[in-house]
């Protein structure tokens, strides 16, 4: 075991020995002794002596080669903050930052960023970002890849921190997440300025045909720009896609909103126009080799996040041109929405929905044309919206032909009774509108309407259709039929229902009647069984199981089961009464 004195002695020894040698002839042993002795001295509190050794003019070569190894214990002291050795360690640290080789300092600093617990992560970032910046600046024209490495590590570390969700959490910033975001922006600032400056110079040079930057120099500039672009793209994904930004009226000063705005500003500074990024999905994929690169450079999720920030939060609005048509914006944004809705995280789904709604609202009702439905996302996205409000909104924006085709498509593909029922209700509304004077259109009356009606006025499985499973659809179909029979005069037959009636009777009404009777009989039987089983429950403690249509009802108390069965029977009554009413109406009209 070394004593404090011993370590200091060894350090002085190796330093003295090396003073006489040229720096390229220090041995591995020299390095090791310096490292171990130096680190021990610092750990044991002998920083004053280490400082004087490190500052000594005769030792600068040694410090330059080996000094960076002292970083770990130094940083430990700096993180502790209350250590009495703090001032000396800080002085050593700063001197090393200026003297040692940048590449080695970089490695040393990045190593110390790697922490596990959130508190240390946040504190290390806060301590080390400014030194990192200093070191990178020292690298001059060679800094690009090192900056990339640094940014990657920083973002990895930040990703380990818990995110604030509520306004209070953002204000309190217990885990210093917001502070880290602010620190990151400060960190990249000089590099952003450099890229901005380069771009300006390039513009000026191309105007004066005076190239002072050679080919290699230009490549380095591009690399720097690329690293910053990567940083922005990553940030857009995490944390920006995961946090819920608060509006100014909720939280006047929001570090997260500021962070988001700064990222957008950085993109602008490095020459990436926000409108080009939002419109990216529509880029024609001409060059195949280039295309893959585009996808990597501009990850879809990041672009979607950007669109959300611009359209929902209106960040950097003054740099986004107000000349694009709302239909075009919707066209681009629906791709972003599609990306977000295909994720599983609640925050991303929520943002997808918000972006979709925001984009739809800007479009006039009935202005989207049918040819837009050739774009797959216009068909798939509405279906993935949770909640009827936005679904109805998307329907409302289609023009009449597009509505027609959309309903056709949904009836064919949805396989969901509730959705189908909702579509059928919409069809009824459209027919109602078409029948009003002055609104005549070719889609919801006349010849075109028939094919659509045929898909509605039908029982999916004939008389065996499970009426409870398909209830929504069946009820809406009945409502529609009743409406048609009442509204459309036999003599006018604007909807064509009267000529189709015999088919509707065969395909829909008769099988429905049979189905209702069958189901009612079955449920009445089950009800009786259940009531009898309940009576005899006092005798046996048996588990009651009720099966309907081959599927067992979940185990409930007998009372609940009886209630469920009554409810089912009531439903059949309801179906039957509407059916009977329709038959009545038809008879009346037939006799006119």
């Amino acid at each position: 075991m070394k004593t404090a004195g011993m370590a200091l002695e060894q350090l002085s020894e190796v330093v003295q020995r090396c003073q006489a040698l040229p720096d390229d002839s220090y041995t591995t042993e020299d390095h090791n002794i310096f490292t171990v002795a130096g680190q021990t001295c610092i750990k044991e509190g002998n920083s004053v002596q280490v400082l004087s050794i490190v500052l000594d003019e005769k030792n600068q070569e040694i410090v330059r080669c080996m000094g960076w190894n002292l970083l770990p214990p130094l940083i430990q002291v700096l993180l502790k903050k209350e250590d009495k050795n703090l001032p000396q360690c800080l002085a050593i640290f700063n001197h090393l930052l200026e003297t040692c080789r940048p590449k080695e300092l970089l490695i040393g600093l990045l190593e110390q960023l790697e922490q596990d617990d959130p508190d240390t992560i946040a504190e290390s970032l806060h301590l080390l970002l400014k030194p990192l910046q200093k070191v990178l600046v020292r690298l001059g024209g060679r800094k690009a890849s090192s900056l990339g490495m640094a940014l990657s590590s920083v973002l990895d570390q930040v990703a380990k921190l818990p995110l604030p969700h509520t306004k209070e959490q953002e204000e309190d910033d217990v885990f210093s997440f917001c502070r880290c975001c602010t620190d990151m922006i400060d960190f990249v600032r000089p590099f952003v300025q450099e890229v901005r400056h380069n771009l300006l110079n390039n513009v000026m040079q191309s105007e004066t045909a005076n190239r002072t930057v050679g080919r290699q120099g230009k490549d380095k500039e591009d690399e720097l720009r690329t690293e910053l672009l990567k940083f922005c793209m990553k940030s857009l994904s995490h944390p920006l896609l995961e946090v819920h930004l608060k509006e100014p009226d909720t939280l006047a000063l929001s570090p997260l909103r500021t962070f988001a705005t700064e990222i957008l500003n950085i993109l602008g500074s490095i020459g990436e126009s926000l409108s080009s990024l939002v419109h990216q999905p529509l880029l024609k994929r001409k060059q195949v080799p280039g295309f893959l690169e585009e996808v990597v450079r501009y990850p879809k999720e990041s672009l979607a996040s950007l669109a959300h920030l611009v359209f929902v939060h209106h960040l950097a609005a003054d740099t986004f041109p107000t000349v694009f048509s709302p239909v075009f914006s919707l066209r681009c944004n629906i791709e972003h929405v599609s990306v977000l809705l295909s994720r599983t995280e609640e925050s991303k789904l929520q943002k997808g929905l918000e972006l979709y709604e925001k984009s739809l609202v800007r479009v006039e009702d009935g202005s989207l044309r049918a040819d837009l439905l050739e774009i797959k996302t216009f068909l798939t996205v509405p279906q993935r919206t949770k909640g009827l409000k936005v679904f109805q909104l998307s329907i409302d924006k289609f023009n009449t032909e597009a509505k027609y085709r959309f309903f056709q498509y949904m009836l064919k593909t949805s396989n969901h009774s509730g959705v189908e029922g909702y579509i059928i209700k919409n069809i009824k509304n459209q027919i109602d509108i078409a029948l009003q004077p002055g609104n005549s259109n070719v889609w919801f009356e006349g010849i075109q309407l028939m094919p659509l009606l045929r898909k509605v006025l039908i029982l999916p499985d004939g008389p065996e259709t499970d009426l409870l499973q398909y209830l929504d659809r069946v009820m809406e179909s009945l409502n529609l039929l009743r409406y048609l029979v009442i509204r459309d005069k036999v003599t006018e037959n604007q909807t064509g229902i009267w000529t189709e009636l015999y088919k509707v009777e065969d395909m829909f009404m008769k099988p429905l009647r049979v189905g209702v009777n069958m189901s009612r009989a079955h449920y009445e039987r089950e009800l009786q069984n259940t009531m009898e089983a309940k009576k005899s429950k006092a005798k046996e403690e048996s588990v009651l199981s009720v099966s309907v249509g081959g599927e067992e009802l979940p185990s409930m108390t007998p009372e609940s089961q009886i209630q469920a069965l009554h409810s089912a029977l009531h439903t059949f009554d309801m179906i039957e009464s509407v059916l009977a009413r329709i038959e009545e109406l038809i008879e009346v009209k037939d006799n006119l």
Binding site: L200, T322, N399, V442
Partner: protein
């Protein structure tokens, strides 16, 4: 107001048909002497070059003849006549049997005044990429958007807005107007809300509902 004397018929039928008389000559005469509504009906309004592209010589000869037959020279049309014509257009019945949804074209919902002439040669076609500097204001003068750099600092980094024209990517007023502009032209466009942001407006960008928008646009390049 000095009333112009009725113009005389200079060219005979033979002269009209001959190659010595170009389409442009006839068009120029007609534009100089015929009433606005006459020119409109015969599709003779606009840039002489463009009219020359679309009109056949036979049509022009017929128009020339008709002008002297009907005597619908400039300054002969009473104001009442014009209003009657406008009324008639409004009352016109829409055809009953429509196969597809016919978009009612109607008159253009924007006006253009040329502030600085372009080269009159390079006109963008649908699908061409155009670049513009622009400033957009509301009727009350509020500037809601511009890409013209202000102040020396940002001057060199600003870029003109580039997009493919005539494809519905921008508000209709822009799409229509830019197709009539030539490279280098600066124009003042006043766009009705129907061809701008309509009933909704864009609240976030200070554009209220039913806002008429005024743009000063400079067409920098056409690709």
């Amino acid at each position: 107001l000095k009333m112009a004397a009725e113009p005389t018929r200079e060219w005979s039928d033979e002269q009209l048909k001959s190659d010595d008389l170009s389409k442009k000559d006839i068009i120029k005469f007609l534009q100089d002497n015929a009433a606005h509504s006459f020119l409109n009906e015969h599709k003779l309004l606009g840039n002489i070059k463009n009219v020359a592209k679309t009109a056949k010589k036979e049509q022009l000869i017929i128009a020339y003849d008709q002008l002297f037959e009907s005597k619908r020279f400039k300054g002969t049309e009473a104001v009442e006549e014009v209003t009657e014509k406008v009324k008639a257009v409004k009352v016109e019945e829409k055809p009953k049997d429509v196969k597809t949804e016919v978009v009612d074209e109607g008159p253009p919902k924007y006006t253009k005044s040329v502030l600085k002439k372009g080269d009159k040669t390079n006109f963008p076609k649908k699908g061409d990429t155009v670049s513009c500097w622009y400033t957009g204001t509301l009727e009350d003068g509020t500037v809601f958007d511009t890409n013209v750099p202000t102040g020396a600092k940002k001057k060199k980094q600003a870029k003109p807005l580039s997009f493919k024209v005539g494809l519905g990517k921008v508000i209709r007023g822009w799409d229509e107007a830019l197709l009539t502009m030539s490279k280098g032209e600066t124009a003042r466009l006043e766009i009705d809300p129907e061809w701008a942001y309509g009933k909704k407006g864009v609240p976030e960008s200070k554009i209220p509902p039913n806002a008429k928008l005024i743009f000063e646009v400079e067409l920098v390049s056409v690709d």
